[in-house]
């Protein structure tokens, strides 16, 4: 009997008795180091059951590594991961009731679509008739009926994405992991799939953990978002909170490209020597406002964005301003006057 190190998995685990009080996935001080590279560094994280949770960050920030840790493809160098309260240390991927939609879909090219979807059930020992029925139902759920006999290599990117989704969901996972599943799709299809995924998650009610580098995607789909940078989580919260009250300049800039005002500049405005975030859309043209010089303007379709330099005693700050419909677009070199509500200037706790 193993008595030291990690506690042996609870035998009742096999029955899959859900413990509602437990988070679906929990990280405690989890690190994943490859030599000198700290892919994941001392991460604490709780993902609740039934939640649509997004891991958001630039490439190389550790979000995909976190997903691979949940799936079991990597073992943490330090720390502890529990899945529904059960320790996942030393548990291989094939003993976890967690399924993954891979970034490159990873469909098996030597199997038909239906055999791809039924693969997990075949491995689980289900008979041919029942697994085919389940696979067909799942293909219908992702709105791809009647393509079961085809080869996955003959499908479009969007279709492969749905097949990969069906192949994961047919196993009725407790947690579904999605690794940038929409990254390879064009904009129109991506938007459509975002809505479909969200609807699907609501209807089946299982936990989705979604990795993306697209902040718009994370904000629009997720119940909560974790912002990754350099292997660490910088902030966790609902999309609105992250957007309105970023805790650090990195989060402010990465999520929605806010104007990050330097501490000296903020002291002039508020008296506090801290960086502050000022969203481009809260700034308006107002005759009583502060003077700024227009450096550039770009037409974005729904709005026009100005790049301006605002001078103050503490030096000049570069900012973006979104013009409202009906605002006259000033010329480069013009002086504009800008104002905002005091509440909209969000002073941040952290400098980094």
């Amino acid at each position: 009997m193993l008595t030291d190190a990690h506690p042996a998995p609870d035998p009742s685990d096999a029955a899959g008795t859900p413990d509602k009080a437990c988070p679906a996935v929990s990280f405690r001080g989890v690190s994943l180091h490859f030599g000198h590279i700290r892919a994941v560094d001392a991460v604490d994280l709780d993902i609740a059951e039934g939640e649509f949770f997004a891991l958001l960050g630039p490439s190389g920030s550790g979000k995909t590594s976190c997903l691979r840790l949940i799936a079991g493809f990597e073992q943490p160098t330090a720390g502890h991961i529990t899945i529904f309260g059960k320790s996942a240390v030393g548990v291989p991927p094939y003993r976890r009731h967690v399924n993954t939609v891979f970034q490159d879909y990873a469909l098996f090219p030597h199997m038909s679509v239906i055999d791809n979807v039924a693969y997990g059930l075949k491995i689980a020992g289900q008979d041919r008739a029942s697994r085919r029925r389940a696979a067909e139902e799942m293909l219908a759920l992702v709105q791809l009926p009647d393509i079961g006999a085809r080869s996955p290599t003959a499908l479009s990117g969007g279709q492969r994405q749905r097949v990969a989704l069906a192949r994961a969901l047919v196993n009725k996972p407790r947690v579904l992991l999605l690794d940038e599943p929409l990254g390879a799709l064009d904009l129109k299809l991506r938007e459509q799939m975002q809505e479909e995924l969200k609807t699907l998650q609501r209807s089946i009610g299982i936990t989705f953990v979604f990795v993306t580098h697209d902040q718009g995607e994370a904000l629009s789909m997720a119940d909560r978002v974790a912002i990754f940078h350099d292997g660490r989580i910088r902030q966790v919260g609902p999309p609105e909170e992250i957007y309105r009250r970023p805790r650090s300049p990195f989060v402010a800039d990465f999520v929605g490209s806010s104007n990050v005002l330097p501490p000296e500049f903020v002291r002039q405005l508020t008296g506090r020597t801290r960086p502050a975030s000022l969203r481009p859309e809260v700034i308006r043209l107002a005759p009583e406002g502060q003077a700024a010089t227009v450096l550039d303007h770009s037409f974005l379709g729904a709005a026009t964005r100005l790049a301006v330099a605002m001078a103050s005693a503490a030096g000049s700050a570069r900012m973006h301003v979104l013009l409202r419909p009906g605002d006259a677009v000033p010329e480069v070199g013009d002086t504009v006057r800008l104002a905002w509500e005091p509440d909209d200037l969000h002073v941040m706790e952290f400098e980094e």
């Binding site: 799936a71 079991g72 493809f73 291989p92 991927p93 094939y94 967690v98 399924n99 993954t100 891979f102 970034q103 490159d104 990873a106 469909l107 098996f108 090219p109 030597h110 693969y119 997990g120 075949k122 491995i123 689980a124 192949r167 994961a168 196993n171």
Partner: protein, 322 residues
């Protein structure tokens, strides 16, 4: 405009004038007629393939349908199946069975030995290790085939290094017990089928490793992750994902090992019992015996066997992953 922006853009023409002569003109012409480029590239190899390669193959096939006049020793140029019938006489049919059995055994063993090597090279070896792998695999091909076979004869001989090794380890009884076995045994390893088998594997192993490695190289790691993610233990992933995806490489490798063994006449002549293999039969019939038709008929056997083998492999889905 940067200062380094060379000439005034107004002076520099947007298009160069067409070349009037030389290589420039040829390039322009070929660029405008891509079909001509392909034809020019393929003409010579196609000529070689059709005339020299397929031509001699046709001549070979034709000869197998002639027969020899046993009194005069001359070839009779009348179409007949008599020569093929001669293949089925017990003495000749034994040669065919022996060769096919050896080729199958060598192919199977090569695949078993080559797979882990190829798997390591494709999945784990990077940079320096990969270079070392290629070097290790290719190195035996750099030296003369005859020298290698004779070296093996010395290794396997009764007075050779293997016998010495077994003696040193006090395992001579094991070697003797093995040599006492029927069929695979003999007076020494260098005069047994086992010796022939070992040298065949040594000689053809690179031809099995490289295609398997190339096939495995094309299997993305996410495919193995996906299988594991869907509940498959490593052994199940191997059976349902790795093996089918590597199958085209294994088949390609086995075409080499199988056909090379079917056709070789040097290895069984130097290492092994004195019983003939197809290659040796062809060699003796076209040379000393002067029976070109029978030699040709023997030479057709490997071609037919390979065709049947590939047909079975295709039916079994070995090329589905291509």
């Amino acid at each position: 405009m940067t200062a380094g922006g060379s000439a005034d853009p107004a002076v520099r023409p947007a298009l160069d004038p067409p070349a009037r002569f030389g290589l420039g003109r040829v390039s322009d012409l070929l660029w405008r007629h891509p079909g001509a480029t392909v034809t020019a590239m393929l003409a010579l190899p196609a000529l070689w393939l059709c005339v020299i390669y397929l031509g001699s193959l046709a001549a070979l096939l034709a000869h197998s349908f002639f027969s020899i006049d046993h009194f005069s020793g001359m070839v009779r140029y009348d179409l007949t199946l008599d020569t093929y019938a001669e293949l089925f006489t017990p003495a000749n049919f034994d040669i065919i069975l022996r060769t096919v059995a050896m080729a199958a055994a060598v192919t199977l063993a090569s695949a078993v030995i080559a797979f882990p090597i190829a798997y390591f090279a494709a999945r784990y070896a990077r940079g320096r290790w990969k270079a070392l792998f290629y070097l290790g695999i290719m190195l035996p091909l750099w030296s003369s085939y005859l020298v290698k076979v004779y070296a093996w004869k010395l290794i396997l001989a009764r007075e050779g290094i293997l016998t010495w090794l077994f003696e040193t380890l006090h395992l001579s009884w094991l070697l003797d017990a093995y040599l006492a076995l029927p069929v695979v045994g003999g007076t020494s390893l260098s005069t047994s089928y086992t010796g022939t088998f070992l040298v065949f594997i040594y000689a053809w192993l690179p031809f099995m490793v490289l295609p398997i490695q190339a096939a495995l190289e094309r299997v993305p790691a996410s495919m193995l992750d996906a299988s594991s993610d869907l509940g498959a233990r490593p052994s199940q992933t191997f059976r349902h994902v790795v093996l089918p995806l590597a199958a085209p490489g294994i088949v390609a490798g086995s075409i080499f090992t199988f056909s090379l063994t079917l056709g070789d006449y040097i290895i069984p002549q130097i290492v092994g019992s004195s019983r003939l293999f197809i290659g040796q039969a062809v060699y003796t019939h076209q040379g000393t015996a002067g029976n070109i038709p029978l030699a040709a008929a023997f030479a057709v056997v490997p071609i037919v066997i390979m065709a049947v083998y590939l047909w079975i492999a295709k039916r079994a889905g070995a090329f589905d992953a291509l």
